[in-house]
Subunit: 228 residues, 2 copies
Amino acid sequence: MLETRKVHSHVVAEELEEEIIAGIIPAGSRLDETSIAERFGISRTPVREALHILCGRSLAERVPYKGVLVVQISAERIDQMFEAMAEMEATCGRLSSQRMTMSERAELERLHQQMNALAEAGDHGGYDTANAAFHELLFQGSHNSDLAAIAQALRVKLAPFRKYQLKDTGRLKRSCIEHQQIVDAILDQDGRAAETALRRHLVSAAQEVLIRRQIQDSATSKPTFSPA
Amino acid sequence: MLETRKVHSHVVAEELEEEIIAGIIPAGSRLDETSIAERFGISRTPVREALHILCGRSLAERVPYKGVLVVQISAERIDQMFEAMAEMEATCGRLSSQRMTMSERAELERLHQQMNALAEAGDHGGYDTANAAFHELLFQGSHNSDLAAIAQALRVKLAPFRKYQLKDTGRLKRSCIEHQQIVDAILDQDGRAAETALRRHLVSAAQEVLIRRQIQDSATSKPTFSPA
DNA sequence: TGCAGCTGCGTCGTATACAATACTCACAGC
DNA sequence: GCTGTGAGTATTGTATACGACGCAGCTGCA
């Protein structure tokens, strides 16, 4: 995580990534090199680099002589992504329960307790940040950089859809209860329990997001983005 | 899988990828834009695009104002990749056992029988090709495109190391026996058995490759590539 | 002798110009 | 009225030039 901010292409890539994740740039839309270049006040060259970076992160796809398209993700696909995420987290959790160092376990519990407090306070922003750290620690705890990287990449890809999550205290409380089971399983070195707890945790999160999306979709009655 | 061969950057990216996978370009070495451009008789621009593609596939890393380095993959890292592969295949296998359509199951068994014949004939090339199809079918059978894509990508990344596999009939026979258990479990819709069989199958394959590598490494006594 | 700063060189990052390709739309022929 | 073909336009891919940065080696001073 070196600071490489001075490089235009990275700045543009991060900015665009955030906008895609935030939904400001809708899925399926085309990323026009010229207009992006004009918007950032730079030439097309660094923009092209940025677009390549996005493609590398599977947030967009490049079609030769046609352009770069923000990946189109159907509701069914989101469902699949959550399932994949659940499986990855379950696997990482099982391995973590067996392999985490004492300091990692301590950090996990510390984070969990901090999140309990944040949930109690109703601090959604703080909670979500801590939550990201919680799950990343879980990935790292597997002590398998490939699994961790895959899980993290999936989490990023799912980020755009998490924003549909409810902003009520109930969600945080439920999340905390589920996290408790996860933490317990890991501290007890019970791989199977960790796996089960994580799978349930992700399934419930997915359900929430998917249901939320259905509500929003039917409300705005979005006519399935104009093809091309 | 559209043909995009006419684009220089893709041609260069594929060529470089093959050379990295084949070990012609050693891990840790720097990919100089100018020399690569000269070698292919093109300008630096498409070379840069190619290098971005390689970075996107995690085959290289870019350091601003310093260059692109071919990722260093240690023996420990290979071990981790095999473990990740095992977990992915186990997961896909479990899902496949529950979700495969009748035609998919039929195709799986057909492939397996064909591979038995190839193993009997000692046709390593044919066997490895069929084997790739076998495992890809397993991924597809999970009916989760994300899991399938992740598993497939991992398989590609591991490809460089499979070439160390022994070329004896014993390996094919052992593989067939293990495949038999996988096929049985899936046809019986026994998720747990499929998971277990696949994990064992991958672990044994990994062991073989890793042992093989140790032999080769000690023979050539490679002095852990010069750092930067 | 040792080191701090400078300088020159190599490489990367960016800007701009040009070539190649795909899409649009109008028009001719049926 | 419909379809196929063609030129025109817009956008991407590539080449080249130039500025920015990192590094190595040298010089000058303490």
